[in-house]
């Protein structure tokens, strides 16, 4: 036996399946994962099974919300195993502590799991090779794994299925001594593989949380005070209970204990808001009853947030200047007042927006009270980006021990950050706790919009100067955003890794943060999706002021090719940045002659370890109808795992970004959200879809995630293009507010 690292050695276990077969189970502890600079999670664990008939089952433990992770992570395992993809089926893993953190967010699932998946596949391969050596009576060095077979150099071979039972008896290799495939020999990674659930989705058989059906289940709605923080005093209880199909109706008092989360970004989020629950025999009965609900609210202490006031206050803050200085390289004021320089000041604005996952929030919960043989128990079905976190809610709010909470993760009908926060599970559990049957809580679309954790709105007042040579002489960025009295608002303010803070030599960045009550949360590329709009627009403004070509000016700002933080793949690399900018520029035909009313706009953004540049071609008519004709995208996220999935994420990000910047905004007055449903909060329809031309630079950096980073550059690319087409500078989103209509 070779010398092994005991602590790691024990993490790999193997057991024979009933009927023979290989089952490999692996857990990576925090210490092993932290060695990889990319890895942020604590643990990970996966199963591979091979049945004697050759079917390879790979379990997916990461929530699938449309980002394609249920396909891409198993591809990595299959590749290292030498499996044929056609032999692989992917099954959802249950929620279980042995899988470690089962979560999806921040475009981290690929970087967090890539090495562990390779290890999983390579371990299985080595055990199959061990079995092959025994069965064929040959040296294992002369064996390779290909096409779900172990093949000897003589040509003889055994299928994985034939070897499965014996493979399960082989010693588990020490991960320290595993070798990995040369990427040039990949046959699965980097190819286009269709989503493993495409068949069930296309035939209407895929089950989302909202589709859960449990025996003896009843259906519920919940109505909260329109102003956050208000509580229900009374309601027309007798009238509601008399309605057909209604079983029960009651008030729930607010409860902050559900917000006591261990994950920092969840703290204070999933609190129970005071309201009225209605339970009935079917969904329609409770939706209909909800419409007839009359509630007396106590909202004396409730939110008084007003978007109108926020805009006015922000303009005053911009005029006053100052703010908390986050970074100052010095010399900014001198450059802004130097008569030889040309200067510019511009006020930018971006609204609150909603997540509007196509599947409204929902959760099914079944509470069983303690009896002589059992403690209090809770069973929960939901689509969640971090399903394990609902156990904390059960513990903190209802004092049900985590081991007595069973969570059944479901496919997510969209996540985008929304399903990282489990207020809907808080509500479902609080309702279920009052009754002795399972309850499915379904939110209406209006519930979903009014009670979102919004992408926070905000403002930035920008000042800049260019010198006589047309070079950037000063960058003064004043962020005017929001916080809660006791904690930060996700996505508001500057984090310190934005482009001017890390790459510009003559920059000052400050911020003024004021208190709000309106709930906000992560929304696809939080912070980046709004900051990209401001910074990348203002860079274009300065290029124009200097009379410079935008692409040339932007590339010059990047300076010498370098990692901003050496050895950290999560840091900007200016060389990678320049490469994607140049590629997008080249492929878009930057600088070519365009018809009247057409313009090209460029933007670059770095976030989620991804370097992305986009060029939009836009046409605008005399009635301010605008069409995005084409978007050319250049992306460097390292080697691509699933080409089809990667292109799909970019296409989706372009459409999502366009939809949001063109027509979406949430406003609030007196604490009340003003938009009720899609008639007031529209989504882009198919006719406006541009041609989307996607190019990848598969640099030799680690593969990183693509669920978010293609979205931020879209808005500034489009508004820069509108400027090029019309001479009109847009500094506020959505464009519909300025009379622009996306067609």
């Amino acid at each position: 036996m070779k010398k092994t690292n005991i602590s790691r050695r024990n993490l790999l276990k193997v057991s024979a399946l009933t009927g023979g077969g290989l089952l490999l189970e692996m857990t990576l502890p925090a210490a092993a994962q932290e060695k990889n600079a990319l890895v942020r999670s604590r643990e990970l664990n996966v199963y591979v099974e091979i049945s004697p008939d050759g079917q390879i089952t790979i379990y997916s433990a990461t929530p699938e919300m449309g980002q394609g992770i249920k396909t891409s992570l198993p591809m990595i395992i299959a590749e290292e195993m030498g499996a044929r993809w056609e032999d692989v089926r992917v099954l959802d893993a249950p929620l279980d502590a042995k899988f470690g953190l089962q979560g999806a967010g921040g475009s981290t699932s690929i970087p967090r799991n890539f090495q562990a998946m390779r290890e999983m596949g390579a371990s299985a391969r080595e055990m199959l090779i061990g079995a092959g050596a025994l069965l064929m009576e040959v040296e294992r060095e002369d064996l390779v794994a290909e096409n779900s077979e172990i093949i000897h150099k003589s040509g003889q071979s055994r299928t994985f299925g034939e070897l499965a039972a014996l493979a399960a008896e082989q010693p588990v290799p020490d991960p320290e001594f595993l070798s990995y495939k040369d990427p040039r020999a990949y046959t699965i990674i980097g190819t286009s593989v269709g989503g493993v659930d495409n068949l069930v989705i296309s035939t209407g058989r895929s089950q989302f949380g909202i589709d859960v059906d449990v025996p003896d289940m009843k259906y519920a709605t919940y109505s909260r005070c329109p102003r956050v923080g208000g509580t229900a005093v009374s309601f027309n209880e007798a009238a509601i209970k008399k309605l057909p199909g209604i079983v029960d109706a009651f008030i729930l008092a607010p409860d902050d204990r559900a917000g006591e989360a261990s994950m920092v970004f969840l703290k204070g989020m999933a609190v129970l808001r005071g309201g009225v629950a209605i339970i009935g025999e079917d969904t329609w009965s409770v939706i209909d009853a909800k419409r007839r609900l009359e509630v007396e609210w106590d909202d004396d202490a409730a939110s008084d947030d007003s978007w109108t006031q926020m805009v006015a206050d922000a303009k005053a803050a911009a005029a006053a200047g100052g703010g908390e200085v986050r970074q100052d390289s010095g010399g900014v004021d001198a450059a802004l007042t130097d008569a030889k320089n040309r200067t510019l000041e511009a006020f930018y604005q971006f609204p609150y927006v909603a997540h509007i996952c196509m599947e409204p929030m929902n959760c099914t919960a079944h509470y069983q009270k303690a009896d002589a043989e059992h403690p209090d128990r809770m069973e929960i079905w939901l689509g969640s980006q971090f399903p394990g976190q609902v156990k904390e809610i059960a513990k903190n709010m209802l004092n049900i021990e985590p081991e007595n909470v069973t969570v059944h993760p479901q496919r997510l009908g969209g996540g985008f950050g929304r399903r990282a926060i489990h207020d809907f599970a808080t509500e479902a559990m609080a309702i279920a706790h009052r009754v002795d049957y399972p309850v499915k809580l379904t939110w209406t679309r209006t519930d979903d919009i009014h009670n979102d954790f919004f992408r926070v709105g905000g403002f930035e007042n920008m000042k800049g100067a260019v010198d006589a040579d047309g070079r950037l002489a000063a960058w003064d960025q004043h962020y005017i955003g929001f916080k809660y009295p006791d904690r930060f608002v996700v996505g508001s303010g500057l984090r310190g890794n934005e482009l001017p803070m890390v790459a510009f030599e003559n920059a000052r960045v400050s911020q003024t943060m004021t208190d709000i009550t309106t709930p906000c949360g992560a929304w696809r590329a939080p912070g980046s999706n709004t900051n990209a709009f401001v910074e990348q627009s203002f860079i274009h403004e300065l290029a124009e002021l200097a009379g410079r070509d935008h692409a040339e000016f932007l590339i010059e700002l990047m300076g010498e090719p370098r990692w901003i933080k050496e050895g950290d793949v999560n840091a900007l690399n200016t060389g990678r940045a320049v490469d994607v900018i140049k590629l997008a520029v080249a492929r878009s035909g930057w600088g070519r002659a365009l018809p009247a009313g057409h313009g090209l706009g460029l933007a670059f953004y770095f976030c989620h370890a991804a370097h992305v540049a986009e060029v939009a071609e836009v046409s605008v008519d005399e009635n301010r109808n605008f069409r995005v004709e084409k978007v050319t995208v250049a992306v460097d996220v390292g080697p691509i795992i699933n080409m089809s999935g990667a292109i799909s994420q970019v296409q989706g990000s372009i459409v999502d970004g366009l939809s949001t910047m063109a027509m979406q905004q949430i406003t609030m007055e007196g604490g009340v959200i003003q938009e009720d449903n899609f008639h007031q909060y529209p989504v882009m329809r198919i006719a406006a879809t541009p041609e989307i031309d996607v190019h990848f630079i598969q640099s030799e950096n680690p593969s990183t995630g693509l669920g978010e980073p293609a979205l931020p550059p879209l808005a500034p690319a489009v508004t820069n293009a509108i400027y090029a087409a019309t001479g009109e500078r847009i500094r506020s989103m959505p464009l519909s507010e300025a009379g622009f209509k996306l067609v």
């Binding site: 286009s192 058989r205 799909s648 459409v655």
Partner: protein, 159 residues
Amino acid sequence: MSKIRLKVNGDTHELDVSPDTPLLWVLRDKLKLIGTKFGCGIAQCGACTVHVDGQPMRACVLPVSTVSGEVTTIEGLADGGNLHPLQEAWIEHDVPQCGYCQAGQIMSAAALLETNPAPSDADIDEALAGNYCRCGTYVRIRQAVHTAASYYNADKGAS
């Protein structure tokens, strides 16, 4: 409550429901046909699209008592063991992301192909104008409808 007679995917059901119940909730809660989705309740997003006598309808605003024709849902679109050409094309083009809206998209497209076997991009845009996709799969939806149209015509020619 009243007795309602409803024919769905070839089967006739006698149902005891309130007559103003939208068809959507009868399909989902009573018949357990969960492929038809709830998205907005006001006929804006198309997630609930079904066919009534071949016409695409938004089931979330259609009182069940007004439905006299035959209802087809996504579960009834395949012809026995054979996928509908749209379903084949949806898989081939790897259209779905989260997948929630796709049944509605496919049902709208299926109604289009019945009347227009060779749709242009503009025809597709018009027929699918009522269907939101928040994930932004529109590029592939268009491609898949074109591909399905070619299969559809080949099938017709063969029969």
